[in-house]
């Protein structure tokens, strides 16, 4: 550690950064299209991710229409239904959530929140976006390929994924899917290196790790996890491509297809499941940790109160990140694995509930006796807590082998993961967009439209996914194209399915209000000013709003305090920016 001499009144000179380190755009193209500015790249990532996410939303509508009115829509046949399921899942988990949290929010917030001018490797950062776009285009291309996209389910389990019985199995669908994933992982690695190294090396003077906002902690940890977990998916995709194209038998057992003995033999489908879930489970937390971080900041800012147990929150993020690598096989309880393994993985799974519960308690305790402003970001943050607790509790059920085995193939699981990693992170994304939109554009989003959007989305998603738990307990199976005549499913289940579908249509349509708000406010929104939420973190202290190229003008900011000095007793205002030296405020320290 180098001691830095402090000047008068406890202020410290800011670190000088050479101007040449920054890439300066020379034309419109390099400024807005092939930009190396993390803020532009963030917007590009977000727009792409949200666009492809809307496609996945429409796919879910089509699925729901089939489930509520089986056979009514002639164009949704069984093959199409499986293709819709697969694409909906894959797009939402990887191309929307992962890309939006890490590529979108990561790119925008990391440099601004740690006080850097940009990411450390801007060129790789730009490549990362364009490679991601390529991955999305390959994915979309599969809709137009002969045979359509793959219908193997988002887990792409072999051997069915590459057989003719599955849509796209012997056509282009599965090939494009696997290629798209491989390309996505290459692009993500470039971006991920940026996020990690920027947090490690790009922090401004005074920004110690323990002064970083929890948003940065969440995104940082999630990125480290993603860098270690995505290679598993990469290897699995490469091996499956070999199996499908070159006739190897990594995953393919001896199999007879349409009365014809295939050349494969001896391969292990379970091996694929291990590799897939070695990526797949950390992926849940790759999505959840940024959400945890963002929600902590939203709650603290809008309740005008310091986050409760900051240290505990940081440790919990790290512990969750570590534990999530040793729970993967709880997705494989029904794969016929050794029961002793099941016991081990059930234990680790339940242990994860401890740091997670600590986080939930800390959010609630932050709210306690806070000066709660029910702004839109706050509403979404509160909705997140409720939804996450609901989804998390059913996770405790499913983490136990004996409970999971009968429920595994029912709608209960669908309801569980949609609550915990579908709706919950999406609510955070909405909250985050309402929170940071003023910084990105300089204008506020419309409050009334936002309220409409919030209430329909929040109540609507509950109306969709709550009854689904009940359907699952009744034994309604998931993945089924239609239920047909079943003795154990009562007629009321069908009525409930219609209700869920109608609600899903309404909630989906309500997102149009949000999209309209995004566009309308860009031109007509109220001017926001530099710090509309009166927040402490660095991104709100930029000299310009929206922040200019290089973020900070001539001098980098210097950080004197942690990110959560809200309602400090004795201070003149109810927030003290991180850039405020100690001498600037009077406060009594209660140890």
């Amino acid at each position: 550690m180098v001691e830095i001499p402090s000047g008068d009144a406890g202020t410290v000179p800011s670190a000088e950064v050479e101007d040449v380190e920054l890439y300066h755009p020379k034309s419109w193209w390099t400024k807005y299209v092939f930009s190396q500015d993390a803020k532009i790249i963030a917007v590009q990532y977000s727009v792409t991710a949200i666009s492809i996410g809307l496609l996945a939303l429409v796919l879910s509508w089509l699925m729901r229409l089939q489930l509520a009115f089986p056979g009514y829509f002639a164009f949704i046949d069984a093959d199409r239904y499986y293709q819709f399921i697969t694409m909906h899942g894959m797009i939402m988990v990887i191309y929307l959530l992962t890309a939006l949290f890490l590529g979108g929010f990561g790119n925008y917030l990391i440099p601004l929140m740690v006080g850097a001018r940009d990411m450390v490797f801007p060129y790789a950062n730009m490549l990362s976006y364009w490679i991601y776009l390529l991955a999305v285009l390959i994915l979309v291309a599969s809709f137009f390929a002969p045979g359509g996209p793959t219908g193997a389910g988002w887990t792409l389990y072999p051997p069915q994924a590459v057989l003719s019985g599955t849509p796209g199995g012997r056509d282009w669908g599965i090939l494009l899917m696997l290629s798209s994933l491989i390309v996505f992982i290459i692009g993500f690695t470039m971006g991920g290196l940026n996020y990690v190294v920027t947090v490690l090396q790009g922090r401004t003077r005074g920004m110690t790790l323990m002064r970083m906002p929890l948003t940065v902690w969440g995104i940082f940890t999630a990125t480290v996890m993603a860098l270690l977990a995505f290679p598993a998916l990469f290897v699995a995709c490469v091996m499956m491509l070999f199996d499908r194209l070159l006739g190897t038998s990594f995953f393919m057992p001896a199999i007879v297809e349409m009365g014809e003995q295939l050349q494969h033999g001896g391969g292990s489908p379970i091996l694929f499941q291990h590799l897939f879930w070695f990526f797949g489970h950390p992926e849940v937390y790759i999505v959840a940790l940024p959400a945890f971080g963002i929600v902590s900041d939203l709650i603290s800012t809008h309740a005008r109160k310091n986050i409760f147990g900051y240290r505990m929150m940081v440790w919990a993020i790290i512990i969750i990140g570590g534990l999530s690598f040793i729970v993967w096989a709880h997705h494989m309880y029904v794969s016929g694995m050794n029961p002793a393994f099941g016991f081990f993985f059930a234990t680790t799974t339940l242990i994860i509930a401890i740091p997670t519960a600590i986080k939930v308690y800390n959010w609630v305790l932050t709210l306690w006796r806070g000066d709660i402003h029910l702004t839109l970001p706050m509403l979404f943050a509160l909705a997140f807590i409720v939804t996450f607790v609901n989804g998390g509790l059913t996770g405790l059920f499913l983490g136990n082998v004996v409970v999971d085995v009968p429920l595994s193939d029912t709608m209960f699981v669908v309801a569980h993961f949609h609550m915990v990693m579908g709706v919950a992170p999406i609510l955070v994304i909405f909250g985050a967009i309402y929170h940071w939109y003023p910084k990105v554009t300089g204008r506020m989003l419309n409050e009334a439209l936002g309220q409409i959007h919030f209430w329909i989305t929040f109540l609507g998603t509950y109306a969709i996914f709550f009854p689904m738990h009940y359907l699952g307990l009744l034994g309604v199976p998931r993945r089924y194209y239609e239920l047909g005549e079943t003795a154990f499913v009562p007629p009321s289940a069908h009525t409930l399915n219609v209700f869920i579908t109608v609600t899903a249509l309404v909630v989906g349509a309500a997102q149009i209000v949000f999209l309209f708000n995004l566009v309308w406010s860009l031109f007509r929104g109220r001017e926001a000013g530099g710090n509309p939420w009166r927040a402490t973190t660095l991104e709100w202290q930029t000299p310009q709003t929206p922040p200019a190229h290089g973020n900070w003008g001539k001098n980098l900011p210097v950080v004197y305090r942690w990110a959560y000095d809200y309602s400090v007793p004795g201070a003149a205002e109810d927030f003290i920016p991180q850039t405020e030296p100690a001498s600037g405020v009077t406060r009594e320290v209660v140890a």
Partner: protein, 240 residues
């Protein structure tokens, strides 16, 4: 997945060691004002590119450890056949070692500022690494001509896939090394930039050499003996 878990444990240990030095137990809410120097201001400074390379090596390490995990898991199946190790692989290994040695030498000369020895050393490292790739392709051709084709046996499949994956990584390093070598021949190249490139290339190539040695051990069957030994030790430890 044991290999992958061992690798992750190693990464976890590094992260833990790093975090232990980051004052995670400090109480940031009590300490307004004291400004500590942070990243980039340490003494001596660690460059972001270097950290970036180490993180990237972590990713590559994860990739190979997961592939090797898959190798071991697939090996347990009854259809696993043996695969001969072509003699040529020994030559290739020697060539790759020499390439790494040349780079290490270049790295030392660059540190000492002897730019005239740097050029031939870099060129030699580049050519040797290229030769390694040619040798690997030759080894593939030999194997294929003797009937060990890709899809016949999982052992063959893994051999081709792992050597291919490793070869692609060598190829990527070769591109960077080629640019570095070319730059060393430019008269007015910036010395510190060149020194850094040589440094990074050397680290990367040593890492890939280590990966290759492990893979070679795997194909030659020594890794299996090692695993058997571990199993025996484990089984002795656990009664029944």
């Amino acid at each position: 997945m044991n290999v992958a878990l061992v690798f992750l444990a190693a990464i976890g240990a590094i992260i833990f060691w790093w975090l232990a030095g980051q004052r995670l137990t400090s109480k940031p809410w009590l300490e307004a004002s004291p400004v500590q120097a942070v990243a980039g201001e340490q003494d001596p400074p660690v460059l972001a590119v270097k950290i970036g390379l180490y993180v990237f090596l972590g990713v590559v390490g994860a990739l190979f450890s997961l592939s090797v995990s898959a190798y071991f898991m697939r090996m347990e199946a009854s259809d696993w056949g043996g695969m001969p190790v072509p003699r040529l692989l020994w030559v290739n290994t020697a060539v790759l070692v020499l390439s790494s040695v040349a780079l290490q030498w270049a790295r030392r000369e660059a540190r000492l500022g002897h730019m005239e020895i740097l050029q031939p050393m870099l060129a030699a490292a580049f050519l040797l690494a290229a030769l390694f790739l040619v040798g690997q392709i030759q080894a593939w051709r030999e194997l294929m001509s003797t009937g060990y084709v890709l899809a016949d046996n999982p052992a063959n499949s893994f051999f081709y896939m792992l050597t291919g994956l490793h070869g692609l990584h060598v190829l990527g390093g070769l591109v960077v090394l080629g640019r570095t070598t070319a730059r060393s021949f430019v008269a007015d190249a910036r010395q510190d930039r060149l020194r850094l490139s040589v440094d990074l290339s050397a680290i990367y190539s040593h890492f890939l050499l280590a990966v290759w040695l492990l893979l070679f051990g795997l194909f030659a069957g020594w890794a299996n003996d090692f695993v058997d030994l571990c199993r025996q030790l484990l089984n002795q430890g656990i009664p029944g």
